[in-house]
């Protein structure tokens, strides 16, 4: 009984994914796979929406770089100094995730919307993505940092004459690599799929992959929308699987 129910829930989540993936390569959705298989829709998407796809990848990588540079030091400070002030900071950092993306986007637009060149550049979207993904990087790294004994490790290194730079890159970073990897995968996945904020932040010249998706769903035939979704899945599903694998690795290490 319960197994049947679980399988139904699974089917509910997975069947439409598979349906859209096959629809993206069929000649005509109404006749189904038997009507013939084609790559013409995928090719159409790859030529027509090349810009948005590349921009999304560019955004995701830039976003990852920013969150690594900002997030790891922030997590380090939060892990070292645990007091009311740092807890308040932690609480604040999570706010962009708690507040709906559309509200954050609106706030950014009313503040910086009038500064023309910034508003129309892709950096405007990047700011939104960094705000939204930073908490995931910080939390992920912080979780690992607070599970290892930073203090002992650092004191050991210091007593052997390592300076701060050596300690940070030689001791701290390698020890929380699992958190950094998990956080990085999360940041890239979320940035690639971000829509709520990006819809308001983007301009016709800075269209991203998910915004393009909405565009095809609304105006083009089902096969093209499916093909575009297929392209998106091909990019995002390996990342999601890697993410599950990374979080499993962390929880297994914690158990042993």
């Amino acid at each position: 009984m319960q197994l049947a129910f679980t399988l139904t829930v699974c089917a509910f989540l997975i069947v439409p994914v598979l349906m859209s993936m096959t629809a993206g390569v069929t000649l005509n959705y109404m006749t189904g796979v038997s009507g013939g298989i084609t790559t013409q829709w995928v090719e159409k998407v790859l030529t027509d929406y090349r810009g948005p796809i590349l921009l999304s990848l560019q955004l995701a990588i830039a976003c990852l770089a920013c969150t690594l540079l900002l997030g790891i030091p922030a997590a380090y400070v939060l892990a070292k100094r645990q007091n009311a002030f740092t807890r308040a900071i932690e609480e604040l950092l999570v706010m962009p995730v708690a507040v709906p993306g559309i509200a954050t986007a609106l706030a950014l637009i009313v503040t910086y919307g009038s500064s023309g060149s910034f508003r129309t550049s892709w950096l405007f979207i990047l700011v939104g993505h960094v705000l939204f993904t930073l908490p995931f990087m910080v939390r992920s790294v912080l979780a690992v940092m607070s599970s290892i004994d930073l203090k002992t490790l650092e004191e050991g290194a210091r007593s052997l004459g390592a300076n701060f730079t050596q300690r940070f890159f030689g001791i701290i970073l390698p020890n929380c690599s699992s958190g950094i990897i998990a956080g990085s995968l999360m940041v890239v996945t979320l940035s690639l799929g971000e829509f709520n904020m990006t819809l308001l932040l983007h301009t016709p010249l800075t269209q991203t992959l998910p915004v393009g998706l909405a565009d095809t769903y609304a105006s083009l035939r089902l096969e093209v929308g499916s093909a575009y979704t297929l392209v998106f899945f091909v990019i995002i599903v390996p990342l999601l699987i890697a993410m599950q694998w990374a979080s499993n690795a962390i929880s297994q290490r914690k158990r042993t």
Partner: protein, 261 residues
């Protein structure tokens, strides 16, 4: 730490403050915030969104509860795969989830095909409230299932055996033993689910019907009516609600992961 603080102050706190000010600078002045609760159109949309989110939350918790406890209790081949499949849509954007609903219940979808076979009638509900609910449940299950599974892991089977040996039926065991033990996890997962549903935008955007969830109202106020002040006021109230729900979740579990829906 300093760079984070600067970035954060410049690009989040300042804009948020600006949002509050803009909200009070329109035709209505500060009473725009009052209009959120007095103007029928906005109030209705808030009530509809809250009702939708509460309904979706309850339904998701029931589904995730049954599935999560089952997956945690039983070890079998393919269990890891099932768990992986259930959490896979975690980072799908709302637009894609809207499209998944169209795949299932849209004009050329699977559900209409099935009802056509059985009842000879095509049941298309993707573009209605039911379709929206379906989409929201779709993105809520992956967000709640892991929390439920983690809590189910700590359930003590001996308590259930004791209850059974004292004559409790299956229903009573679930009601008096399992549910109370899972309550904190349900509250935390439920709050996350509720907050995500309140702020979700992409799904409603793709299904694009007459459904007026608050994020859609904000979008139309801003883009079509150019009523920035009202959009700001609505955003601020909506943000307050979701933030409060998530703060509640964090106070219970100490951690919350909620990605946009």
């Amino acid at each position: 730490m300093a760079p984070v603080a600067i970035l954060f102050a410049a690009f989040f706190l300042l804009p948020l403050a600006q949002l509050v000010v803009i909200g009070g600078s329109g035709k209505l002045g500060w009473s725009a915030y009052l209009a959120v609760f007095t103007e029928t159109r906005y109030l209705k949309s808030f009530i509809a969104t809250i009702a939708l989110s509460v309904g979706v939350t309850f339904f998701t918790l029931i589904v995730s509860g049954i599935t999560g406890v089952f997956l945690e209790r039983n070890r079998f081949r393919g269990r890891a795969l099932l768990t992986a499949m259930l959490t896979l849509p975690l980072a799908f954007p709302g637009v894609v989830i809207g499209f998944m609903v169209i795949m299932l219940a849209g004009r050329q979808g699977l559900v209409p095909d099935i009802t056509d076979l059985i009842f000879g009638e095509r049941l298309v509900f993707a573009y209605s409230m039911a379709g929206l609910c379906m989409g929201y449940v779709y993105f809520s299950i992956p967000r709640t299932i892991l929390t439920v599974m983690a809590a189910a892991e700590k359930l003590d089977p001996r308590l259930e055996e004791a209850a059974r040996s004292l004559g409790a039926g299956p229903f009573m065991v679930v009601r008096d033993v399992i549910l109370p033990a899972l309550k904190p996890a349900f509250l935390a997962a439920g709050a996350i689910c509720f907050a995500t549903s309140m702020g979700a935008f992409g799904t409603a955007f793709t299904l694009a019907t007459r459904i007026n969830v608050v994020p859609m109202v904000i979008y139309t106020e801003f883009t079509l009516q150019a009523n920035v002040a009202m959009a700001a006021a609505l955003s601020f109230v909506l943000g307050g609600i979701t933030w409060a729900a998530l703060a509640f979740a964090r106070s219970l579990s100490g951690s919350s992961v909620a990605a946009s829906g």
